[in-house]
């Protein structure tokens, strides 16, 4: 794989100074944040490099050190650095507008904290989308040699810090905007459109129809298409030499903004020895899925000389992978993971979704990743099935397949993690129970907790000295890696006093998990989904200790919190126009989590065809956001000689030639994703309209349909060339047939 950094600014100024300070070692790093240009795909793109590199340099400390990290922001945008999984004073936590004000453009900031723990951690920017642009790096806290928990055969192995990540050639802000606009370009790139023709070919037409009947759009295990997947910034790399029988400890952090990775090794079993920086009893598995922002320490053995064994990190959606070869010599590859069987997944979602959009776990009490419903999509487990073999079965259960091979692949789950030490919390501390339901809506890309985004929530008060027991239920259709700042929590997984400590909990759809932590810190701590685009859509909360001392880095705490809230509920803009032979057909829209402001237009080229615009300002209600009441303004002009005044289906006269009308109405999404719009105009006229856009006919063909009680109708077909360009054919009752170039932003 060709892989060159083109870096404008040549820089490597990593000063690592050791100073003895009253028998305590101060370890200093200087980090220079600069703009850079990269070519991960061959195309030149902007990125952010720290000390001239992506990922950011790996920082090493030993428990007992004092960390001094100087951040020199040499860019024209504010930044911040968050120390993921670290116990530290609140003002060092690095969340802009929550624990400090952002480090301004061209500013310098010192993070200084005592290192009071050990383990594999990482650090990243907590500002905007900077993490996706390259601001992630390893943070390794070593045990002291005299540590009583030092494990011979594990802690003395050669070790290699690995940070996983992904790269997109799109600007991350634009990725975020596209997600909010339900742009399915990523699905086209991934081959996961799940269109009607594909459904037909695979004998899943009924599945697709049921899916749309239940008002779901195509399902996927991830949201974004990435051009490259990376280990330590490279798609392929080698590390060695090793001799047969050598063991190596891989300290792995998932620094990806939104990708989970399957970790597999061509040289045999993987032994998991720590999770999120906390030791666990060694457990042997064939593979594990590392959630966004999780860390795992694993030990692998090099089984033969003069062979390099592939350590393969495959994105959960299997759209790509990154490889590290351990050892030297001929490279022993691992079997790539086969493509997901999306329609099997769709069928599973159909079975488990009620008509009201809520999930139904059929009483299976899922928890701790033990029952992975996605398994129905994994050909390596459920066996490769030929198209014709699939028989229609009656009843709801359709996952029955004759296995092609025994399912003896051992996959790690949270129930298998057992802490090496007792982790029980103080028995006399008061326990407070909190429940959160993770909620979301893929169609409008709104992610929330208890159907509230951060902007709709106050900080959650915490008393120092109490135990918070949090019960999380994931009622959304995506998995979420929930991360708590500044604390480790116990995952109640049946291991009793040895419940493992983590700071990220991956929770799959329909799972219920219980975590608990001892509130022994001070300040305001973020609790959020670590998928960057979910976090920036509002899936966050803040735990706030009562009676905390003022934070010197945050002069106006209330105003800062409002800024934090606003940051994850911005307005997203979209626009499209069909430059057709019979006129222009288009719209623009501004949307937030709840609000939508949009204008549609149909502009003919002459007075006979006429001109019309409709503007709606509406608010979405309900968890699924199927209901949107709105107020509207309608303006149209058409030369009277050609239009006349038509009667609508209710016998009311509707003026087509010249009108400017206010209206109120409501839009509601019906089964098959048909949008029913009922509108009353100021003159008492009523209009009902049914509309469906973007029916996925084939991977790149979309159909649109519209009909209303003013006896207007429209049908269109469009072929998608690129993210922004399509060709469109349509017929409109006012303007007739047209062909045109369809542009969208």
């Amino acid at each position: 794989m060709h892989f060159t950094y083109k870096i404008y600014t040549v820089l490597v100024l990593l000063a690592c100074k050791y100073t003895l300070l009253q028998a305590q070692k101060v370890v200093r790093y200087d980090l220079y944040v600069r703009d850079t240009l990269v070519q991960f795909t061959g195309k030149t793109r902007k990125a952010i490099a720290v000390n001239g590199q992506i990922p950011m340099p790996a920082l090493h400390f030993t428990e007992g050190d004092t960390a001094e990290i100087y951040v020199h922001n040499e860019r024209d945008e504010a930044t911040s650095l968050h120390w993921h999984g670290i116990f530290l004073p609140n003002k060092e936590d690095g969340v802009p507008f929550l624990t400090q004000m952002p480090i301004p453009a061209q500013g310098t900031h010192l993070y200084r904290f005592p290192v009071i723990q050990n383990g594999t951690h990482w650090y990243h920017s907590h500002t905007g989308m900077q993490e996706q642009s390259g601001m992630y790096g390893m943070l390794v806290l070593h045990k002291r040699a005299d540590d009583t928990t030092f494990r011979k055969g594990i802690d003395d192995l050669p070790e290699l810090p690995l940070i996983l990540s992904e790269w997109t050639d799109h600007r991350p802000d634009n990725v975020h905007r596209m997600l909010h606009n339900a742009n399915d370009w990523f699905a086209i790139k991934k081959g996961s459109t799940q269109s009607y023709t594909e459904a037909l070919k695979e004998g899943h037409l009924k599945t697709k129809l049921t899916n749309e009947w239940k008002r779901m759009s195509a399902m996927d295990v991830s949201d974004v298409y990435y051009d490259r997947f990376l280990i330590n910034g490279r798609n392929e790399s080698s590390y060695g030499p090793f001799r047969a029988g050598d063991r190596v400890r891989l300290r792995i952090a998932n620094g990806g903004a939104s990708s989970y990775f399957w970790l597999r090794y061509a040289g045999g079993k993987i032994t998991v020895v720590a999770s999120d920086g906390n030791d666990v009893e060694p457990v042997e598995v064939d593979r594990l899925l590392i959630g966004v922002s999780e860390t795992y320490d694993i030990v692998v053995e090099i089984p033969a000389d003069s062979t390099a064994f592939e350590f393969l990190a495959t994105a959960e959606d299997r759209s790509g992978s990154a490889s590290l070869y351990l050892g030297s010599g001929i490279k022993q590859l691992h079997t790539p993971l086969p493509r997901l069987r999306y329609f099997e997944g769709m069928q599973m979602m159909n079975d488990m979704t009620r008509m009201n959009g809520r999930l139904n776990d059929m009483g299976m009490q899922m928890a701790l990743q033990r029952m992975d419903m996605n398994t129905v999509m994994y050909p390596e487990i459920s066996g490769v099935k030929k198209k014709k073999e699939r028989k229609k079965k009656s009843g709801t259960h359709v996952h029955e397949t004759q296995a092609a091979k025994p399912a003896d692949i051992v996959t790690l789950n949270y129930a298998m993690l057992r802490a090496t030490q007792e982790t029980s919390l103080p028995a006399d501390a008061p326990v407070r129970e909190l429940r959160f339901e993770l909620t979301g809506n893929m169609n409008r890309y709104v992610w929330s907790m208890d159907n509230r985004v951060l902007e709709e929530s106050d900080k959650i008060p915490v008393k120092k000295g109490e135990i918070l027991r949090i019960i999380l239920y994931n009622g959304s259709m995506m998995r979420h890696p929930m991360h708590l700042h500044g604390h480790d929590f116990r995952v109640l997984n049946g291991q009793g006093a040895h419940a493992p400590l983590k700071n990220v909990l991956d929770i799959m759809p329909m799972e219920t998990d219980t975590i608990e932590f001892y509130a022994n810190a001070e300040g305001d701590w973020f609790f959020h989904c670590h998928i960057l685009y979910h976090m920036m859509s509002g899936m966050n909360r803040v735990f706030s200790y009562e009676g905390q001392a003022p934070n010197p880095l945050l002069p106006d705490r209330a105003a800062a919190y409002r800024e934090l809230q606003a940051e994850s509920n911005r307005l997203h803009f979209m626009a499209q126009n069909d430059f057709a032979s019979n006129g222009n057909d288009g719209m623009f829209m501004l949307q937030s989590a709840r609000w939508s402001i949009g204008t549609e237009w149909r502009l003919g080229y002459n007075n006979r065809h006429g001109y019309e615009t409709e503007t709606h300002i509406g608010r979405y209600f309900g968890r699924m956001q199927w209901l949107m009441p709105f107020v509207g303004f309608d303006w149209r002009y058409r030369s009277a000689a050609h239009a006349g005044n038509g009667k609508n289906l209710f016998g009311q006269t509707s003026s087509k030639d010249r009108r400017a009308m206010l209206s109120i109405g409501v839009a509601y999404t019906l089964p098959m994703l048909l949008v029913l719009q009922a509108e009353v105009y100021q003159n008492g006229n009523v209009r009902l309209q049914l509309r469906r856009d973007d029916i996925p006919i084939s991977p790149r063909i979309r159909a649109d349909l519209m009909i209303n009680t003013d006896k207007e109708y429209m049908a269109g077909l469009r072929y998608i060339f690129t993210r922004n360009i399509s060709a469109r054919l349509h017929y409109d009752s006012d303007m007739g047939a047209g062909a045109g170039l369809f542009l969208n932003y």
Partner: protein, 283 residues
């Protein structure tokens, strides 16, 4: 944009269909070693390696070498050899994944030079290996133990969707059921046994008599229901988990017993292996 690009490339090519020997630019030629046996191998290797206008590969069966011509600005030798390895063929840069090699047609199973590699995954059953001596002792002592052993073997066969093994295991189970002497049973075992004996024997016989796995599973659902009161009444060396899948039989659900807490559903193939939950732990 890419699409338009492709049209521009495709058009002149269509017009000059005669000049179809595509020219490779910046051509580099190398000879590489690639393992293989037969004509089918040759086809697979060349299909995996060749790329229009970028790579031309000619593999020789006798010398096991390939002449590689490629555009050195667009690809590398390693990239080509990796594709070939992922199709199942070792070279001097890559060893094919074992699973891919194993899936090659019989005639293509060339001799491999590689050492080590990924040993086929074995199920992790520490509880079983650790407790073996104890268990055999217990089996002699308790007659029901033999029945439950046979039952668990049957269940495992159904988990791996192996109808033949299931039939064999069911035969064992029938034997074990027939060898139970009522006078050796504990009082509570005795009363449970009286209630389920007949149905257990019928179901075990039915499973043994067929190789149709869906019929075996239907009988197994009934068998498991009757095993539950029996095992509940028995003294056990280790816990037994009473598990439930709500989906089987069009949502009517079905139960089974297992020595592992991890769900391994015997009613479906491996695709729904993890479907179910533990409803009770029998100790």
């Amino acid at each position: 944009m890419q699409f338009i690009h492709k049209i521009w490339i495709a058009l002149p090519m269509l017009l000059s269909a005669t000049a179809c020997t595509a020219q490779i630019k910046n051509m580099k030629t190398e000879t590489v070693k690639i393992q293989g046996n037969c004509e089918m191998c040759e086809h697979t290797i060349e299909t995996a390696g060749n790329l229009k206008k970028t790579v031309r590969l000619d593999w020789n069966r006798d010398t096991k070498t390939a002449v590689l011509e490629y555009d050195s600005l667009k690809t590398t030798r390693d990239e080509i050899l990796k594709r070939i390895a992922l199709a199942g063929y070792d070279s001097d840069a890559y060893f094919a994944p074992d699973e891919v090699y194993a899936a090659l047609p019989e005639c293509c199973h060339y001799e491999r030079s590689k050492k080590g590699g990924r040993t086929p995954a074995k199920p992790l059953r520490p509880a079983e290996t650790a407790a073996t001596p104890e268990k055999t002792a217990a089996a002699e002592a308790a007659p029901i133990q033999k029945v439950s052993e046979a039952y668990f073997t049957l269940k495992d066969a159904l988990v791996s969707s192996d109808a033949v093994k299931a039939a064999t295991a069911a035969t064992r189970l029938s034997e074990a059921l027939n060898s139970v002497k009522m006078e050796e049973l504990q009082p509570q075992e005795h009363s449970a046994w009286m209630q389920v004996e007949k149905q257990l024997k019928t179901d075990a016989g039915d499973i043994a008599a067929t190789s149709d796995i869906s019929r075996q599973r239907a009988s197994f659902a009934s068998l498991s229901q009757n095993m539950y009161p029996l095992l509940k009444a028995t003294d056990k060396a280790e816990p037994v988990y009473y598990q439930y899948c709500p989906m089987y039989n069009e949502g009517k659900g079905a139960v089974w017993l297992s020595r592992e807490q991890t769900i391994k559903n015997p009613y479906y193939g491996s695709s729904m292996l993890n479907c179910g939950k533990t409803t009770e732990t029998l100790r």
